[in-house]
């Protein structure tokens, strides 16, 4: 059939064909990210997302030279008095270990921001969780709630350790904002002020208590074989550490008893294998909670391994060698390692490269319990100390009184060397650092050799940028 096409129709046809291919040309959705947590499996993944926040370089990660914060792994060690900034250092942490930071210090900012990122992930998933806390998913949802609350408490406590000026259980000094809500749409509507230290403790202990309740409902069996996740044993350990900072000695003993009862210290070989890479996938029973490496986490890059920026002090090295046992095993510490400037270095070898980071393990619990017992005049304090010594292949002792307390505190330095405790212990106690190896002459890049208790630096500055965006945050004294 012959037909004369009118131009208008012809045009219309052309226009139509041009768009035929795409009916809804502007509707696209992301292919590599989710826009909401739609299923229970998404909630599970979101919980692991909160955990993965601990792997960042601001928290437990620590690449060897970058100067990222590594706030709860390397930093408390390289700021403490058991390590010296070596001549090999690139100086990326120099401002930290000399304790001369100002309020715009980038590491301090990272330390403030990272825990809140984890906290917001937890608070976000808690919004989605109630829908699954009935029916077939109820048990697992309760367990997820327990882990989420424990993570929230732990992250807030870690913030307090840097930003609260003191640790008294009922102190009215300013702690950190305790955040329990999250709104992805209105981030500027919520500008919390700092809670007091007492309020922080109350909230932390409440979350940890609620976590234990939820674990009980979820029938937690304390059988967390991979040790990458929090179970009720970890919550007891967390609560013991919180009470330890608050000097609540009876509470420390009670929680340590539960934790050590379920997961006691291992022997020398087990201690060494805890830090061996082979032990990473199935940590020994001594480890309560470890953050897995996933081929990215290097917890001790700046203080540990064959190219450390920081070496163990000569004084500490002498203590280690005097004690011997597991502490001189080459998987824990290495001695007489040649270094720049003809210095024979002692190097902590717990985290030389890719390793899981041990957040809680029985050694710390046993020492906290020993100290708590000693401070409450419980005679079994010595028993606890000697139990640890025996399990590390170190000679036992018979100290009493002040000598026993000194021995416990010394053992704490030795046992937990390189594990992120020393600077916090100093700020809880003497607030004094005296460096014997100082300046180029002392084989060190650091030249600030004596820091006394009046230094403003014992409390970190609330980051300048955070105060700029949230004027309700009050700065710490001196900044």
């Amino acid at each position: 059939m012959k037909m004369k096409l009118k131009p208008v129709y012809f045009m219309l046809m052309l226009l139509l064909t041009a768009f035929m291919a795409c009916k809804k040309p502007l509707d696209t959705m992301p292919d590599t990210s989710l826009t909401e947590l739609k299923t229970f499996d998404d909630v599970r993944n979101a919980l692991r997302g909160a955990y993965s926040g601990f792997q960042t370089n601001n928290y437990y990660g620590s690449p060897a030279a970058s100067g990222s914060a590594s706030g709860w792994s390397s930093l408390p060690e390289l700021m403490g008095d058991d390590f010296v900034e070596a001549l090999e250092s690139l100086g990326n942490w120099n401002v930290m270990s000399e304790m001369i930071y100002a309020s715009d210090n980038a590491q301090a900012a990272g330390i403030f921001v990272q825990p809140y990122e984890i906290i917001s992930r937890v608070n976000n998933l808690l919004i989605y969780l109630p829908a699954y806390e009935t029916g077939a998913t109820a048990t697992e949802a309760k367990r997820i709630r327990a882990e989420a609350l424990a993570i929230r408490a732990h992250a807030h406590f870690d913030l307090m350790r840097y930003f609260a000026p003191e640790f008294g259980r009922n102190s009215n000094a300013l702690g950190v904002p305790y955040v329990t809500s999250f709104d992805p749409v209105k981030p500027f509507a919520y500008l919390p002020a700092r809670n007091t230290v007492k309020e922080n403790y109350d909230a932390i202990l409440k979350d940890l208590g609620d976590a234990l309740v939820a674990f009980r409902v979820a029938d937690n069996t304390a059988d967390n074989t991979s040790r990458n996740y929090i179970d009720s044993v970890v919550v007891y350990a967390m609560r013991a550490r919180v009470n330890y900072y608050a000097s609540q000695w009876d509470a420390v003993i009670a929680d340590a008893n539960v934790a050590l009862g379920l997961r006691p210290v291992g022997n020398s070989a087990a201690y060494v294998s805890t830090f061996a890479i082979a032990g990473e996938e199935a940590p020994t029973s001594e480890v309560y909670w470890a953050i897995p490496s996933d081929n990215v986490l290097r917890p001790g890059g700046s203080i540990s391994g064959s190219s450390p920026n920081y070496r163990v002090t000569a004084a500490m090295s002498a203590v280690l060698q005097a004690q011997g046992g597991a502490y001189v095993n080459s998987g824990i510490n290495r001695f007489n390692q040649a270094g720049t400037g003809g210095i024979q270095r002692t190097l902590c070898w717990k985290y030389p490269g890719l390793r899981s980071f041990k957040v809680f393990r029985a050694g710390e619990l046993l020492l906290m319990r020993a100290e708590a017992k000693q401070r409450t005049n419980d005679p079994t304090a010595l028993t606890d100390l000697n139990t640890l010594r025996t399990n590390r292949g170190v000679a036992i002792g018979a100290e009493v009184g002040a000598a026993l307390l000194d021995a416990i505190l010394l053992q704490r330095r030795v046992e937990l060397l390189g594990e992120g405790h020393r600077w916090f212990d100093l700020r809880r106690t003497t607030k004094t650092i005296v460096r014997a190896e100082c300046g180029v002459a002392g084989g060190s890049r650091a030249a600030n050799c004596n820091i006394g208790p009046t230094s403003r630096s014992w409390t970190f500055p609330i980051p300048f940028n955070e105060i700029k965006v949230n004027p309700n945050l009050v700065q710490n004294q001196g900044y």
């Binding site: 009118k6 131009p7 045009m11 052309l14 041009a18 795409c22 040309p25 502007l26 696209t28 992301p30 292919d31 990210s33 989710l34 826009t35 947590l37 998404d42 993944n45 979101a46 692991r48 997302g49 955990y51 001549l87 090999e88 250092s89 690139l90 100086g91 120099n94 000399e98 100002a102 309020s103 715009d104 990122e117 984890i118 917001s120 992930r121 992805p184 749409v185 981030p187 500027f188 919520y190 500008l191 990458n228 996740y229 897995p292 996933d294 081929n295 290097r298 190219s307 720049t340 400037g341 003809g342 890719l354 300046g439 180029v440 002459a441 890049r445 300048f464 940028n465 700029k468 965006v469």
Partner: protein, 999 residues
């Protein structure tokens, strides 16, 4: 023919017309220029009627007209001419415009004569600059048009430039202009695999009236490129080739030599390495110039062969080119091959054609803009002059600085980065006169830009880089590894348009042209990458890898995604009206919908209006010296949605791994209210020609206001940690003035001297920030403050050294008190990193075919934070290569110096490392000789031109580094900002010889 004569003729013809009646007949003829070149596709119209036709490719026309009718000949290539019909065969000679390209403005959808163009548009004379020996086309635009600010940044072959038109108009949105090649959008900064030898015209569209038809895509200005088309007639062949050498410029960051460094270490720095006297004595015999180790003279060559021609109906242009440029850094360079075929065909009322181009390039590069101890451009500065690069046996020397320094020679020669790009652009078009309706044309243009990049990086087993990974505890790379990535992107554009042109009224004094468009643009991309570990076998590719096991830990990492996934749908229309070819008015309106915004906010409407008036055509205008004067003004609004990512309004969860299991982490906070960033621009301008067009120029003033600025504000940590959210907050203004001037200073037959100059001043001001705030933090070292320009530095002011104790001194926030304590509360908002003053000057001298031109670019008023200098003046890095400035470091009380005592902690966030970025650059100087016609005729060729040119031969600046131009594109730190220099690839400086042969 002057206008006055024309008018006389006009009156005469009207008179004739009124008395005579002559039978219509077919008039045929040929249109040629005064030199005899046929003028194809001109429009021929019988004045006062709708009778209109188009000349063919040979310039032949045929039209029905009566004796005494007046035929109007118009084209973009010659001056409009009216000729009365006096015979059946009329051969018409027209005056071709001196350089047609200089006189038309190609807007992409249409071509306008410069006379009728009322927007702000600059035409780049591509013929003058295409021979610059630079691989990336955007780089050669520097200094070519006022308001077009090009930061060349890097001398690395193939690197693209930072291109900004009339100031930065967004904070977190894109400020890249839109690039259009033959009507098809091409990705910004992706020119290293395109051949500028094929480009015929380049226009820069700047104001609202000019960019209106590009809608949201044109919010940052548009650079429109058309490629060469064939002309019917004899096939013409051309060969263009050049060969040259580039050499290392001077680094004004001076480092210590061996003697200085050893004296410094021993006497000032306190012997940080603990060298013994014997070691020092031995070191004094070594003096390595590390620049000699990793830099070289780079050879460059390029060749292009092209052919163009065609029959009456079909025309073609085709070319093939080869470009090979070695960088001045060893083992860097770019090699590429390009081909193009453009074909057009006319059949009755239908025109159709295809333009196709393909290119392949091979790039071997090195890192720029980072502060890594592995980047050779850093380690060359941080090297110790008393160490050698090679051992006596030829192996790469190890350094005492290992593992925090890697031998740059080994990094460049053994390890390194490669990429291969395949790029293809093309379009097809069909255009026909719609039957039944006169002067109604339909056009379909469909095209695409496909580009794929394969990247490859290798760390060989046994190299220092591999050993470094072992030493710092990153086990997996300790025995080498390779990474390979693949990224392919395709953006397609389909444009339908209907154009209607008419003229009416007495003598057709009203001319109207309207057009309606629909346009659909889609961008898709896909990428993947992997890194494999354990390069234990003797192959530098995947075959060298061993299988990963739990024991060896060599488990590869895999990534990838969809880098682009968005669509844009637009409907728009334009109306152009002119009255007596003297008054011009243009109106446009459109609606755009973007997939990047939520369904509720995705559509927006806006438009523009512009007007022009040729004052010099008025009878009352009697200034003899001014032979052409035009006033123009435009106002318009436009929305922007580019550079904001694909789904910025949605909360998003991204993947990660924890304990070997999957995780979902919040990667972006939601903003369902996110909408278009809006920009209003007003432009007034004046174009003039004086003294019989010996002086030509223009002045333009503009003001633009961006509202609802795209900005990623810093989220309080308590609301999501490092949370990322994009918001529409704040206003920003850009206003400025642009001047361009072309002056034929001497215009004799045997000697001419022409001066072309342009200058632009842009003032950027932040007008408002969200929630009535007056201040926001922004990137490293910078802040946003109301009343100040974007990219203003935020630093504590350095006040020199206290001679008493050698401590650094700073100025407190009050602006006068001097303190020795660094305090973040004293941070102050200072000058910007964006230069407000930019210009270009070209002098061209021509003596009997021998031409010399010298082109300078100028930029002033900005600051650069010199990170490269910080790293060689930082108190902890006295063990590395160190700045000569430190020879004056304070050592004794009373010493007046500007370098503090070396054991004082160096604060980075201070103005001590802030330097002025002003420079004047001799961008290009060229001497060429075109053989006279008498010689070329004997040689039986069309033309031969020989030239020698120097690129970047000298730069006047005071910046302590290779070059004060720093481009954000090369910055490895995403939080940094064009302003901060890390590893810097020295600017290209070269001398080339070449020839252009036409036959």
């Amino acid at each position: 023919m002057t206008r006055e004569n024309l008018r006389g003729l006009f009156a005469f013809v009207i008179g004739l017309f009124s008395v005579a009646f002559v039978q219509a007949q077919t008039v045929t003829g040929k249109i040629t220029s005064q030199t005899g070149e046929p003028q194809p596709f001109a429009t021929v119209q019988v004045k006062g009627t709708q009778t209109i036709t188009t000349a063919d490719a040979q310039g032949n026309f045929s039209i029905k007209a009566k004796q005494g009718d007046v035929l109007i000949f118009t084209s973009t290539f010659f001056e409009r001419r009216e000729v009365p019909v006096d015979a059946a065969v009329m051969n018409v000679t027209v005056t071709a415009t001196v350089n047609a390209l200089k006189e038309v403005v190609v807007t992409g959808y249409s071509t306008r004569s410069k006379r009728s163009n009322i927007g702000s548009a600059s035409t780049v004379v591509i013929d003058d600059i295409r021979t610059q020996p630079i691989a990336s086309f955007d780089q050669i635009l520097q200094g070519q048009a006022p308001g077009l600010n090009v930061k060349s940044g890097s001398g690395q072959p193939g690197r693209n430039a930072d291109v900004i038109i009339r100031g930065r108009t967004s904070v977190n949105g894109s400020v890249d202009p839109l690039y259009i090649v033959d009507g098809v959008e091409v990705r910004a900064g992706d020119f290293s695999t395109m051949n500028q030898g094929d480009f015929e015209s380049v226009s820069v569209l700047k104001d609202a009236a000019s960019t209106a038809i590009y809608g949201s895509r044109g919010a940052n200005g548009v650079i429109v490129v058309t490629t060469k088309k064939g002309k019917s007639g004899k096939v013409r062949f051309a060969y263009d080739g050049q060969i040259g050498v580039s050499t290392l410029p001077e680094n004004k960051l001076k480092l210590m030599n061996t003697q200085e460094k050893l004296d410094f270490e021993m006497n000032i720095a306190g012997n940080p390495w603990g060298w013994s006297a014997a070691e020092v004595a031995a070191f004094r015999n070594v003096n390595t110039n590390w620049n000699d180790v990793i830099f070289r003279d780079g050879i460059m060559q390029s060749h292009q062969l092209s052919a163009s021609g065609g029959s009456e109906k079909t025309t073609f242009y085709t070319s093939f080119s080869y470009f090979d440029q070695e960088g001045v850094t060893i083992n860097t360079g770019l090699e590429r091959y390009n081909g193009r075929l453009n074909i057009g065909h006319t059949e009755r009322t239908i025109k159709f054609g295809v333009n196709l181009a393909g290119g392949w390039s091979k790039f071997r590069g090195t890192f720029e803009g980072d502060q890594s101890v592995g980047s050779p451009l850093n380690t060359v500065l941080w090297a110790l002059p008393y160490e050698t690069a090679y051992e006596a046996n030829g192996s790469y020397s190890n350094s005492v600085q290992f593992p925090f320094w890697l031998n740059p020679a080994e990094e460049l020669i053994e390890n390194g980065d490669h990429s291969w790009q395949l790029k293809s652009t093309g379009n097809v078009f069909v255009e026909f006169k719609v039957p039944g309706i006169k002067n109604l044309t339909y056009r379909l243009n469909a095209g695409g830009d496909y580009s794929q990049v394969e990247t490859f990086g290798i760390t060989k087993n046994g190299t220092q880089a591999a050993a470094q990974n072992a030493a710092i505890g990153s086990g997996r790379l300790s025995e080498g590894g390779i990474g390979r990535g693949f990224d392919r992107r395709f953006r397609s554009t389909i444009t339908n348009s209907l154009t209607y042109k008419t003229s009416f009224g007495a003598n057709d004094e009203h001319e109207l042209s309207t057009a309606l468009y629909t346009e659909f643009l889609r961008r898709r991309g896909r990428s993947f990458n992997f890194t494999g570990f354990g390069l234990l076998l003797p192959f530098d590719n995947e075959a060298g890898l061993v299988a990963g096991t739990a024991d060896n830990g060599y488990i590869p990492t895999v990534g990838g995604g969809f880098p682009e996934n968005s669509s844009l749908l637009s409907y728009f229309g334009t109306v152009d009206y002119s009255f007596r070819n003297k008054y011009f008015l243009s109106v446009s309106g459109r609606t755009d919908g973007s997939s990047r915004l939520s369904p509720a906010n995705r559509w927006t409407q806006y438009g523009s209006v512009g007007a022009g008036w040729i004052v010099s055509d008025e009878n009352f205008f009697k200034v003899k010296a001014i032979n052409y004067l035009k006033l123009k003004a435009s106002f318009g609004a436009v929305g922007n949605q580019s550079g904001i990512g694909e789904f910025p309004y949605l909360q998003q969860y991204g993947r990660a791994t924890y304990g070997g299991q999957g995780t979902l982490n919040i990667t972006r906070l939601a903003n369902p209210d996110l909408t278009w960033e809006k920009r209003r621009t007003a432009n007034v301008g004046l174009e003039f020609e004086l003294l019989k067009s010996r002086i030509r120029g223009g002045v333009e003033l503009y003001q633009s206001l961006t509202t609802g600025l795209y900005f990623e504000p810093k989220v309080p940590a308590t609301s999501g940690g490092n949370g990322v959210i994009l918001s529409n907050s704040g206003d920003m203004e850009n206003k400025g003035v642009e001047v361009n001037l072309s002056f034929k200073i001497v215009d004799k037959k045997s000697f001419t001297w022409t001066l072309d100059a342009n200058y632009a001043f842009n003032k950027n001001t932040i007008k408002a920030l969200p929630d009535n705030q007056t201040f926001q933090l922004f990137k490293s070292f910078q802040a946003l403050q109301v009343g100040k320009p974007l990219n203003s530095f935020y630093l504590v002011q350095y006040a020199g050294v206290n001679p008493a104790n050698g401590n650094s001194q700073y100025i407190k926030a009050d602006g006068k008190t001097i303190t020795e304590e660094y305090d973040a509360n004293d941070l102050t908002v200072l000058g910007t990193s964006d230069a407000p003053h930019n210009g270009g000057i070209t002098n061209t001298f021509n003596f009997k075919g021998l031409e010399l031109s010298a082109f300078f670019v100028y930029s002033a008023g900005n600051y650069v934070f010199n990170t490269a200098r910080f790293n060689v003046e930082f108190y902890q890095y006295t063990t590395s290569g160190f700045s000569r400035n430190a020879l004056n470091a304070w050592t004794t009380p009373g010493q007046v110096t500007n370098f503090p005592r070396i054991d004082e902690a160096t604060q980075s966030q201070t103005t001590r490392f802030l330097e002025k970025g002003d420079f004047l650059r001799l961008r290009n100087v060229m001497l060429s000789y075109a053989l006279p016609k008498s010689v070329t005729e004997k040689l039986k060729i069309q033309g031969l031109r020989l030239f020698v040119q120097g690129q970047n031969l000298y730069t006047w600046h005071k910046f302590q580094g290779w070059d004060p131009e720093v481009s954000s594109i090369n910055d490895g730190d995403p939080n940094s900002n064009a302003s901060v220099t890390g590893a810097q690839y020295p600017a290209l400086r070269s001398v080339n010889f070449g020839l252009n042969l036409n036959f």
